[in-house]
């Protein structure tokens, strides 16, 4: 017993002396399971390449918890250096001008190279100012894809995965006739799929001011005839479960892996889960589009999270963070990260290198989100979203969509209400940003 204590004390003494010489950089993140290992390994590798700085990753709960932990810590005066924030928290972070250190500024001051053109524009666009200055550092990115159960499609007599919405509706009806009564097709993250991605993919505005990228005085626009038509169709299909609602988040994603729903919209980050659990021939395909919409398909937008650098730290610490970001951008490291974890590569070079190596011929599913993101040069409607209060706003939109699907409101009335209530929240956010 005594020996162990003495040994522990010795170990502690050693640990504290080695930490004394180094500058510790706190990194709060929200990665679980295999992704948690990735985070720890990255920190470990970085710590081994040099001995001036030590990156210390800490798991802080799911995305919303991590953001809240970061906010609370900032208010208490001990924010971490690096905070992982999901894409819908972007406006919240941007609005907090005094609380964050813009990444482009930090890189410049620390003398680290940062060429915005080296990164995939659909990814960095989400996290950059209108002038193209990177505010946060993209870490894990994904997009929405259509997951398909090829065994069941074949049984139902559908030869190809559907490419357009009409083809998809047709396939869903055939699937139902072939035994999938409770679910022709379904979707996780309903608002992300049916409003946010849908708008970008069809090159129609979700909100004014380039979906909020060009100012907080943005107004929602997703009650257009195209949006209403799409929701109306879904409402009609819900009646006999050709489309069956699967909730606001991804809690019910097992409906795909269990075989119940043979077509299911979900994040490309679903890859690991499908690979581990689906006992059938599966694939992922790009989201469908309406062929009568002129510019469709345009390009999809990203999901996932980026790393924000918190404000009020010492110059020396920022130097360490800058070094760490440069380390993360390294092409070979990005290539490996992408191929092992299924995250999208953030630099063009890493994408090219993976493609040239023939990786996608063996793993075509991993290229689907990249093809969607780079399908066309992004427009005002497809660069990304930046809406304040977005986390709660998604709930408000979901409430209205649920009311329509349950038959309590027409699709038009539901979308009008979603837009109106969302606009109120945007104005509230604008007011709080202005108090700073």
């Amino acid at each position: 017993m005594k020996k162990t204590t003495a040994f522990a004390a010795l170990a502690f003494g050693l640990a504290s002396t080695s930490a004394f010489a180094q500058t510790e950089l706190q990194w709060w993140h929200a990665m679980t399971g295999a992704n948690n290992d990735v985070v720890n390994r990255l920190a470990d590798e970085f710590n081994k390449t040099q001995n001036e700085y030590k990156v210390v990753p800490t798991f802080k709960g799911f995305y919303a918890d991590t953001l809240n932990a970061g906010i609370a810590a900032f208010r208490a005066g001990n924010a971490p250096h690096i905070l992982q924030v999901f894409e819908v928290g972007t406006a919240t972070m941007m609005g907090a001008r005094g609380a964050v250190k813009p990444v482009y500024q930090m890189m410049q001051e620390s003398g680290e190279k940062l060429d915005p053109k080296a990164y995939l524009p659909t990814i960095t666009g989400y996290y950059s100012t209108a002038k193209g200055e990177m505010l946060s550092f993209p870490f894990n990115s994904s997009s929405m894809v259509m997951w398909a159960n090829r065994d069941e499609l074949k049984k139902a007599g559908v030869a190809d995965t559907p490419k357009t919405w009409p083809e998809l509706f047709d396939a869903a009806k055939k699937l139902q006739a072939a035994g999938h009564q409770s679910c022709g097709f379904s979707s996780a993250w309903t608002t992300w799929a049916m409003i946010e991605q849908f708008s970008a993919w069809h090159n129609v505005p979700l909100a004014s001011k380039a979906n909020g990228l060009e100012g907080f005085d943005t107004e929602l626009k997703f009650n257009s005839p195209l949006h209403v038509k799409h929701l109306e169709t879904l409402v009609n299909l819900q009646k006999d479960k050709t489309f069956d609602y699967a909730g606001r988040d991804s809690k019910n994603e097992a409906r795909f892996t269990s075989g119940e729903c043979a077509i299911f919209f979900n994040s490309s980050g679903f890859y690991g889960n499908v690979k581990a659990n689906a006992k059938f021939d599966w694939t992922a395909a790009p989201m469908p589009y309406y062929p009568d919409v002129k510019d469709a398909p345009q390009n999809s937008i990203i999901g996932g999270a980026s790393l924000w650098v918190m404000g009020g730290k010492k110059a020396d610490e920022y130097k360490g963070v800058a070094k760490f970001f440069a380390f993360l951008s390294d092409t070979d490291r990005q290539v490996r990260l992408h191929q092992e974890s299924g995250y999208l590569p953030i630099t063009k070079a890493a994408y090219e290198k993976t493609r040239a190596s023939g990786f996608y011929e063996k793993n075509p599913v991993l290229e689907v989100p990249l093809k969607e993101l780079t399908n066309k040069e992004p427009t005002e409607n497809s660069r990304g979203l930046r809406l304040g209060n977005m986390v709660q706003m998604r709930d408000v939109w979901s409430e209205e969509i649920e009311a329509a699907l349950a038959g309590q409101k027409t699709a038009k009335a539901a979308l009008d209400a979603a837009v109106e209530r969302g606009n109120q929240m945007l104005r509230q956010f604008e007011r709080t940003v202005r108090t700073q």
Partner: protein, 293 residues
């Protein structure tokens, strides 16, 4: 007078009270006063700047139709949970009060669900009732019930009522059992000799004598439904479908934590605080009257 002479000075009684007072001050009065102060501010999530806006947060809140809808939902939810959990607990307690073989085992088992955290209870129930994967959910669908808590407001409400009641039954059971055991056996036996059947004995003797316990439990249950069911709602329905299961406390949580609207959320907390103070005051008056009569 006598008490004062025991201490002989003022310092000692205050010193003895200090720890309890400190706990109350730090963990109740301080956060409560913070909430009141916050409810008059308009502030961003990071606390970088704030404006004193007087009653604007309250005005905004009370002009929202959503808020009244949440109040109605809360009322229905608390009534349903109180009735169901009290009714079932009373039934179970009156049965467990009989001399049965293994009565202690039943009692212990019945108390267990109280140890389950609300969020965990929510997850358990949602698994069982998941329409396409859960055991009961699947069974319902096979038997022609279009079970769909994701879109059907009544189904969602039923689900959270069941989960919330299930958790509270144990607590009520304990109090009812204690209440039943404190009723003098001689009174009941006398009634039995006079020829009153069990049902009559229950309604004319046991039930009236239990009424203080029942009233106490009603208040406690309502407070439970108001505040502690947050975890259940969060894991099971997230307030949906629509706003069908959004209670007042869930709305305060959603606006403050998910929406970053701290002022509005604080205003809601203050209103909730007033409701609970009122409930407690009523309870104390009533219980006091029962004691002195």
């Amino acid at each position: 007078m006598q008490k004062r002479s025991i201490f002989g000075g003022r310092l000692l009684p205050y010193a003895l009270l200090a720890p309890q007072l400190a706990v109350t001050l730090v963990f109740f009065y301080w956060p409560a006063s913070q909430a009141v102060w916050q409810s008059f501010l308009l502030e961003d999530a990071f606390g970088l700047g704030s404006d004193f806006v007087w009653f604007e947060n309250y005005q905004a809140l009370l002009s929202q139709p959503d808020y009244y809808q949440s109040a109605v939902v809360t009322l229905l939810f608390s009534l349903a949970v109180a009735l169901l959990s009290l009714g079932v607990a009373l039934l179970l307690a009156s049965q467990a009060d009989k001399s049965l073989r293994g009565a202690t085992t039943y009692r212990t088992l019945l108390i267990w669900p109280y140890a389950v955290a609300p969020a965990v209870a929510g997850v358990l129930w949602i698994f069982i009732f998941q329409p396409s994967l859960g055991i009961i959910g699947q069974a319902l669908r096979r038997n022609g019930v279009d079970w769909n808590p994701l879109l059907n407001a009544h189904h969602a409400m039923l689900l959270i009522v069941l989960a919330a009641s299930w958790k509270q039954i144990s607590y009520n059971f304990l109090f009812f059992l204690a209440g039943l055991q404190s009723i003098p056996k001689s009174v009941i036996e006398a009634a039995a000799i006079d020829g009153a059947r069990p049902a009559r004995r229950f309604w004319t003797i046991v039930f009236p004598l239990l009424s203080p316990t029942i009233f106490f439990l009603i208040v406690v249950n309502i407070v439970y439904v108001f505040f502690e069911t947050l975890g259940i709602i969060d894991t099971m329905t997230g307030g949906g479908p629509g706003k069908a299961t959004q209670t007042l406390v869930y709305k305060a949580f959603a606006d403050g934590r998910l929406g970053g609207d701290l002022g509005g959320s604080a205003a809601q907390s203050v209103i909730l605080m007033i409701i609970v103070i009122a409930l407690t005051a009523v309870q104390f008056r009533y219980v006091e009257r029962r004691v002195t009569y």
